[in-house]
Symmetry: D2
């Protein structure tokens, strides 16, 4: 299969290249970019010296049509709305890593993203690609809205309860921490080493655009759920997300029973590892891999549930899940090309 990537020079694009380098069904990988046309890809990413000879190609729908079988869109916000319809018209399946096609309600998108929504039809055609939990829809989809990094960690952390409508409806608090690579490769004060190193920040308090994405999916599972509180923090590290989630359950259960519920829920999910009782994952333990590791407990003193969910934001939170979706769409084994062991330490 011939694979295209629009927006290959960003971190999501580079991680796709790293994965597809070893994917058994990825015959060729063509890199498109709206800037830097003709430049060797290794000029942007010298860690790929000798591993790729690709140069950046301009985005022309006519040549794309002849060159590739599927397109990953790893471009900045606003680009998918433009290209997805054209690629659809050309019959090319698209997996979009941006947030543009994830929110079904354009008004909600525009409120949180502060930009114009993509065409309604495009949005409606997009299937939300939370790979573990939307397999059937993904299998027949031609357009995937690949989930955001925070929503992936949060939704996998809450799905076992929300799908069984066990969440106390007005009490979901999500305290999320991310590494800096989640902000992309663009230089800014918000990604400046001296501003972030040995420092811990909170940002977009109550305003993070991943909030409606989380709520849209949670209420699809448990319709009575009230708005959640979602806080994003920036930790001085490159990769990794930890979502610490506080909630209560409507049914009485022990910590062991809760843990068992999670374990059963994910028993067929290769990429979700529910930790033994009393063990909680650290972000480095999934570094460079497509795993989502989850620890859960109930505090006997307060009866509150704590859920700790970690991913590598560039893998399970972006490129890894995108390739997982590619696998599902093509009827390949979900973990094809994605079995890399976490790099630890």
């Amino acid at each position: 299969m011939k694979i295209g990537i629009i927006g290959a020079t960003g971190y999501g694009g580079a991680e796709l290249v790293r994965i597809l380098n070893h994917h058994p069904y990825a015959e060729d990988c063509i890199l498109y970019s709206s800037t830097g046309e003709g430049n060797a890809y290794t000029d942007s990413y010298p860690h790929l010296r000798n591993l790729t000879k690709q140069s950046l190609q301009p985005i022309h729908i006519e040549t794309i049509q002849e060159e590739i079988d599927v397109m990953f869109m790893a471009a900045p916000p606003g680009v998918s709305g433009e290209w997805s319809p054209q690629l659809a018209a050309a019959g090319i399946p698209v997996i979009d890593l941006s947030g543009d096609l994830r929110i079904q309600n354009p008004a909600v998108y525009e409120k949180w993203y502060k930009r114009k929504a993509a065409p309604k039809e495009t949005i409606q055609n997009a299937v939300y690609g939370l790979a573990e939990l939307q397999k059937e829809e993904i299998q027949t989809a031609k357009l995937i809205a690949n989930p955001g990094c925070f929503p992936t960690a949060v939704l996998l952390g809450l799905a076992p309860l929300a799908q069984q409508k066990l969440l106390q409806d007005s009490f979901v608090i999500i305290d999320a921490k991310t590494g800096v690579s989640g902000a992309g490769r663009k230089a800014s004060m918000g990604t400046h080493f001296s501003e972030l190193n040995d420092n811990f920040n909170i940002y977009k308090v109550n305003k993070h655009q991943h909030t409606p994405e989380i709520e849209q999916q949670l209420t699809a599972w448990q319709p009575n759920l009230k708005p959640v509180t979602f806080s994003a923090h920036l930790a001085p590290m490159t990769r990794g997300i930890m979502a610490t989630i506080y909630t209560e359950v409507t049914s009485e259960m022990s910590s062991a029973q809760l843990r068992e519920l999670y374990s059963e829920f994910y028993q067929d999910s290769y990429f979700v590892r529910v930790r033994p009782e009393g063990e909680y994952p650290a972000t480095k333990e999934v570094y460079g891999s497509n795993f989502c590791d989850i620890g859960v407990t109930i505090d006997e003193r307060t009866n509150r549930v704590t859920i700790v969910s970690v991913i590598d934001n560039l893998m399970k939170g972006a490129a890894g899940q995108a390739v997982q979706n590619l696998n599902v769409m093509n009827g390949w084994k979900e973990e094809t090309g994605l079995t890399m062991t976490p790099v630890y330490p």
Copy 2:
């Protein structure tokens, strides 16, 4: 004033030395240690070359009695219970940085600390030294239980609401993040660079020994308060604590009113800086200083309050607050010797 430090080789001790170097009323500083007797202090801390000629002294109550006017105890857990009574008998005021004298109920101490409590009388004589809020008791105290690092950030963050009994009684969630220096200088897997760098951990889930300290003080302010949820995380940085606190208030108020309430509450507190609306502190912004910076908001969607409180764990969370207590005990200006500007970046 001649000042002694027991446990000078730990980070709390070293930070005391850094502060007292510039304190106008600290005439001399004598360093006691149960190990390394006779060694130059600069062998442990070469950053102090030329700045101190002290060597480590053995802990003999008779000589101590003649040498110093006040003692800081910066020793590991279990030591204060032994030495505080002897120092008290010798008429030497003590400021204890350990957790041993903070919990009034020995059974609670023993449950959370998994060790025997200090003698009941010693505990009862100890005044909890949350400097901004216990000034009167501190002024006349001979024995100070200096607050823990997490409790300092959390209690200063919640005091304006708890003292006015405005907290929803069953909804206080504290998600705290700390730098590694909080774990002290002892080498262990839990402080190993390769295990922590570029990594984010949660630890002691629902079991952190600072939990009862937080609850003891909160319920002193607002007696109907139910147990809180407190989670401690380890961020890959040396100094700094951020406590992100989620709660609700029982009285209707706007974000601006909440911010105003905090601002008034702390208007005479030099070390507490309430940030303007919409601004939240980062830990580096108090690095090396004794400030506690606080940002607050109410989310209109959920009506929930988010409080962000940051300190330098070795300063306001340990040595800085200890010296602040010394100042208050002696009737000096609270900020004497503690006006260092945060080191940024």
Copy 3:
């Protein structure tokens, strides 16, 4: 092939497990340890949950003999001297990652390592496993002394000149920088996060035990070479070594010619990537991979050569090269199981 690892709980061992997980000829992997017998390996390394069910086995030569076809020794110094002869007697090929068998002259070993050398016969049987440059010897070896991390970066950086006797004989200065994982997993002040983070250290000045290893090989190539200066620094990062090497060449050549000389020298070496003129590698660009990237230049002002050589110390500097040696010993393609792309960023 069935593979054993003695000392599996260290970082070298864990990296071997990561690699062998995906090695096509590694049928099974048995983990031996002198401590923790019976413990699940995932208790030490939870990042391997679901990926290995191994528990730690005691080191009994009789059972080892029946269980495995080749042994990796990733144990602390002093252990190889004990076990290598027994494994040899049992007919099991050994690849030893320690420094114990690298120095041919026991007196030199004892001077630099400050411990007793291994039995002379064992040392003499050991082949120095610098995989790119000792292929023939490795193919027939039964006992490999896997090179040290610093020597690997340095020797690959200098081989093209030394093998052609082009080095100015009394001017080789090596300024090396390493991440902290090189110090192993043992907790100590030298690996304490708070001591190392945001800090840069030099250590073992003129006393690092990798110095004689470097000189032994360099003088094997260019016998007239005088002692080198080697300095080791500790950078606040987990993985990665950069050796910046300063020297002069005895033959007149331009920067372009020097670069060409390197390029030709390594044209058949998959794992050595000579960078284009004017480009120098950063350590992250080989993170998690078995590459050694090299940039070279001659300064026209001073006529001095600067060589920049980077590796991942746990991969090409330890476990990766060890598996490369396994491949060569068995006549497999050198890069079998080792083609992982660097993880960047």
Copy 4:
């Protein structure tokens, strides 16, 4: 004394503000900037909340003339050449932190800086402000070219040998490592957290603009000295420079004698701390302070000298030395306002 800062929004400016906050003779501090006029300084630097009420002032020579007694220039390259003459004409002493006035030969400046040199007269009036070693010239200067960060560490490290003409004339190799704050606050790929964290880089190989500054001063001391080799590396940390210098001496001496030579040379220099034999400084040991710590040794095997010199690049390497120069110019004690203890850990 009323003090002005042009370019206050950079890191050098912010560090000047931190120092001058506590300087006993700094009555007032006025912050000038070519951008952001009217903005509160705390909008740029919230760590100064409550500590300064300054807003950014436009750079008008007429008002400057009436407002201040001395000006620090902490602006980007190219600005000093424009403003220094005007300030001189207005009779205002200037301490310039940029590199514009350091190189006496305009052709050399233009070759290394790739930009037009400042007016010749301005350059000739500028005194190179290496505070420990140019005291007399500084005392009477009206225009100070404050040394660069690397040259400060290197020149203090080499002065005891170069002033006595003891350096082997064709063998000075300087391998320097810096934290990222040396690159300033401007966002770029070269200061992007994800590109630098857990990574080690070399940059501007043989092309760093601090090279001629180092050579100009070294040859002023020891005229026969040949060009040096200077390499700059970027370590994943915020503050700190370590220069590891390799050389030989023309006179025979032991390690102890060399150490003694340094110790005597700096016996009256408060800010230079020569370490005991066998001890080498780490960058964190001068963090936030104005110290330059130096360790020296001679390797008996090679007869080569290794000099390890560390500074905080924003303090002794920029703002700290600038204030030290202010002190010397005014006949105040050199360490006035600069006695802050290093922040460790």
